[in-house]
């Protein structure tokens, strides 16, 4: 008796489930119909090329340039070295700087008064390195005057604030000097804190940033 009652109670539920299933299927079909739409696209027939520029700066020694050591400087000595700095053919650069790193720091690069100083001069013609001051067959422009290496080791110095146009070359004379000193050596014994007999290992680095970004259209 109780079994028959249970069977009769489950029949309406199966009908209900079937009804829901049919209804859901119908809803899905009709719903899909509601959301269907026509689509259209437009694209260029020829692929547009997009490329990024290349910013590059190269340094080439003129004569011995920075390839040769400088030794046995006396106070007041000036040693000229020549390099060509070429802006790559890609992007323009700007804000040229010069920094110096010393792998073995001494007073030569840490003392702003007694230490080494540098002067950078540009020639708009061509430098001819010589045994003396060298010569420029054009006009010279001093880009950096008498800067202490002690400052260049800490912060790069501005050498040229303007733009370095792509493909152009700066022809530079780098004049390194040891300022005059007033040291007296007594019986072969140099004074304390002497600038004499010191050696540094220098790396010269020119740096720049890319030209100012632009917004263009045509």
């Amino acid at each position: 008796m109780s079994t028959q009652e249970t069977r009769s109670a489950t029949r309406p539920n199966r009908r209900l489930l079937a009804a829901f299933a049919i209804g859901a299927a119908g809803l899905a079909i009709t719903g899909g119909g509601v959301y269907a739409a026509l689509n259209a696209t437009a694209s260029n027939t020829t692929a547009q090329n997009a490329s990024s520029g290349i910013l590059s700066l190269t340094m080439v020694n003129v004569g011995t340039g920075f390839s040769q050591a400088v030794s046995n400087l006396a106070p007041g000595d000036v040693v000229n070295r020549y390099v060509n700095l070429t802006q790559g053919a890609g992007l323009d650069g700007k804000d040229l700087t010069l920094a110096v790193a010393d792998a073995t720091p001494t007073l030569l690069t840490t003392d702003a008064t007694k230490g080494l100083r540098v002067k950078v001069t540009q020639c708009d013609g061509t430098w001819t390195p010589g045994t003396g001051a060298g010569s420029c067959d054009g006009t010279t422009t001093v880009l950096l005057n008498n800067a202490a290496l002690s400052t260049l080791t800490a912060t790069p110095a501005s050498v040229k604030a303007g733009t370095n146009a792509a493909g152009t070359t700066l022809k530079l004379q780098i004049a390194l000097t040891l300022p005059d000193q007033a040291e007296t050596t007594v019986n072969g014994d140099a004074p304390a804190g002497t600038i004499q007999g010191l050696s540094s290992s220098l790396t010269w680095t020119f740096g720049e940033t890319q030209r100012t970004a632009t917004t263009t259209g045509s």
Binding site: A69, D77, Q173, A182, T184, D189, L202, E208
Partner: protein, 183 residues
């Protein structure tokens, strides 16, 4: 159900926005830089100095030279002034003092005959004497380690025991002139 709760959706949206913002800011701040560096090379300063010594080779020390004369001994002693630096010297400053009596420091324009005390085919020049203070004298020492031979001569009339002390100093003006070079 919890995945789709409104609060979590809002949090995710904020996170995505922040990520995009960071990305765009980094892009805005980035700027291309280029560098050109040289090879690393040594740069060194020279040194200057000289010392009076009776030694034939380094080390020479850094004390003034003391020469002792005895009453019965010779009245002249020879010594060298050596360039202990790396730069050429044009001249030096000499100081001579004595404990008693007097003495002179002398140079020979050729080469001393130290046995006879003569200066063959040359002239003897007084570098300095005791009691006059520091005296600059042109004794070129063109290279590191080069030397000039001088002598100290007792000049007091009485043959006293005395010690002559000779000091040598070199200042910047006595070193070679500054030069401009390039290559």
């Amino acid at each position: 159900m919890s995945v789709h709760s409104p609060s979590i959706r809002a949090g995710a949206a904020v996170a995505v926005t922040a990520l995009l913002l960071c990305t765009s800011l980094a892009t805005a701040d980035a700027a291309g830089t280029a560098q050109a560096a040289s090879a690393t090379r040594a740069v060194s300063s020279g040194s200057w100095g000289a010392v009076a010594t009776t030694r034939g080779a380094a080390p020479y020390g850094t004390a003034p030279l003391a020469l002792t004369f005895t009453a019965l001994g010779t009245d002249r002693q020879y010594f060298s002034v050596v360039n202990t630096g790396t730069l050429p010297l044009i001249r030096e400053t000499f100081t001579a003092t004595t404990t008693t009596g007097s003495a002179a420091i002398e140079a020979c324009s050729t080469t001393w005959n130290e046995s006879t005390g003569s200066c063959p085919s040359g002239t003897i020049t007084t570098v300095t004497t005791t009691g006059v203070g520091p005296t600059s004298f042109a004794a070129p020492l063109p290279t590191a380690g080069s030397a000039v031979r001088l002598r100290a001569r007792r000049t007091s009339l009485l043959q006293l025991n005395l010690t002559v002390t000779v000091g040598v100093s070199v200042d910047r003006t006595q070193v070679r002139m500054a030069s401009t070079t390039g290559s």
